[in-house]
């Protein structure tokens, strides 16, 4: 279900609009192509970017999915993009919308997106959103992943460190740790150290004892 909001960013020159959906030519049967084009046009009218939707259709085409499934996937993505845009605001970039949609699909709430945007109005959110979704893909429960990203961003971590955090969790999981615990241990340590450095002390060098499952 698409939000038909005022299309502030949705005005696209006709030539560009045609070019975007022309990518579908020869890849989908006519009926599916018509359905997807209609979905893309509605989305564009609502101020959403067309390319991610066209990519989704092409993904389905490339994988040999049937038309109904492709249309359903495009519709679902359009909904995710719309909810993301509502949460992140009109000035969200296409990359942020795509990453935000992935986060929502991974189980993040719109409130999480709003918090992130509220805390960091001017910085690109692609990486924090992506890290949230990737953590979930690795097995971290969605609420833990969302809380972790928010907490870490609040301790001052930015892109490189968020990625390092995600890599650390992946390593721990690859070595046998439960994903949620791995994330929680590292976030707790980061928050504790942040708190102690804020208070002017040295962070403790004692390692946190992992809780046995």
């Amino acid at each position: 279900m698409l939000m038909l909001a005022a299309a502030l960013g949705g005005l696209v020159a006709p030539a560009v609009a045609r070019a975007q959906t022309e990518r579908l030519a020869g890849r989908l049967d006519e009926r599916t192509r018509a359905a997807v084009t209609a979905l893309v046009d509605s989305a564009r009218a609502a101020g959403l970017p067309a390319d991610p939707l066209v990519n989704k259709a092409l993904e389905g085409a490339s994988k040999g999915a049937d038309g109904a499934r492709i249309a359903a996937a495009v519709r679902a993505l359009a909904g995710d993009l719309a909810r993301t845009r509502a949460a992140l605001g009109r000035t969200a970039t296409e990359a942020e919308l795509v990453a935000g949609a992935a986060a929502l699909r991974a189980g993040a709430t719109p409130a999480f997106l709003e918090r992130l945007r509220g805390d960091y109005p001017r910085e690109p959110l692609v990486v924090p959103l992506a890290v949230m979704a990737d953590l979930v893909a690795r097995g971290v429960p969605a609420d833990t992943a969302a809380r972790s990203v928010l907490a870490l961003v609040r301790t001052g971590m930015r892109e490189a460190e968020l990625v390092a955090f995600r890599q650390s969790v992946e390593r721990d999981v690859a070595l046998g740790a439960p994903a949620g615990a791995a994330a929680a241990v590292r976030v707790n340590a980061a928050e504790r150290d942040f708190a102690t450095t804020q208070a002017g002390q040295q962070p403790s060098s004692a390692p946190p004892r992992p809780r046995k499952p």
Binding site: L8, G9, R27, P52, N55, L58, E59, G60, A61, S62, K63, G64, A65, R69, I70, A72, A73, A76, L77, D80, G89, R90, T91, T93, E94, A95, V98, A99, A101, A102, R105, P121, R122, E123, P124, V126, V127, A130, V131, A133, D134, A137, R138, T155, G156, M157, R158, E159, A160, E161, V163, R166, Q167, S168, E170, R171, A174, L175, F194, Q198
Partner: protein
């Protein structure tokens, strides 16, 4: 050792630190693979330590060797702020241009006759990006990507879809085919609310 002979504790510490550190068995292979690629330097500053996806051996029956921590996320430009700075002081006003990072996709598939890459960045057209085979069954290709999140798969022998064993999985409908995702970070600061 200079000075440490005077202090047995320091000497013991140094001796312990001189012990060899265990190496992953594919360490040499990975470095030589990167050396062979001789990737040209990026047009903008990039945090190169996050550039390459790790090589993970994919045996003929597709069993995963160790999928330890992989990039999956690359960063481009935008070095105007200091990582780790806790405060939210205003960031430099100048916007970084949306420049592309060269992303290297790698799959170890010694039995394959061809490996192609299909994803959001090439209209999911497997015929467009054929990967190059190197020694020991390593297939690679470099793709320039602007900041964003991209889904992709490898297409082996024109028909078999293989997710990247060393990358995060995509979320959402993957049409029944496990799909990988790569995220390129960096990019411009946003305009103030109210403008486009």
């Amino acid at each position: 050792m200079h000075g440490s002979a005077d202090d047995p504790l320091i000497a013991r510490v140094a001796a312990e630190l001189r012990r060899p550190v265990p190496l992953r068995p594919d360490f040499d292979a990975r470095v030589m693979a990167a050396v062979h690629r001789a990737i040209p330097s990026l047009p903008v500053r990039a945090w190169t330590w996050l550039r390459e996806p790790r090589v993970v051996a994919v045996s003929p029956i597709g069993v995963l060797a160790m999928a330890a921590g992989l990039a999956g996320i690359l960063l481009v430009g935008a070095v105007s702020r200091e990582p780790g700075a806790g405060s939210r002081e205003p960031i430099a006003e100048s916007r970084e241009p949306m420049a592309a990072a060269s992303v290297t996709f790698v799959l170890v598939a010694p039995q394959a006759r061809s490996v192609a890459l299909a994803g959001d960045f090439n209209d999911w057209d497997a015929s467009r990006v054929l990967m190059r085979r190197e020694a020991s069954g390593l297939w690679t290709v470099d793709v320039p990507l602007t900041p964003g999140r991209y889904r992709y798969v490898f297409v082996v022998d024109g028909r078999r879809f293989v997710a990247d064993p060393a990358a995060p999985r995509a979320v959402g409908d993957d049409f029944g085919t496990p799909t990988s995702v790569v995220t390129v970070g960096g990019g411009a600061l946003r305009a103030a609310e109210g403008s486009l």
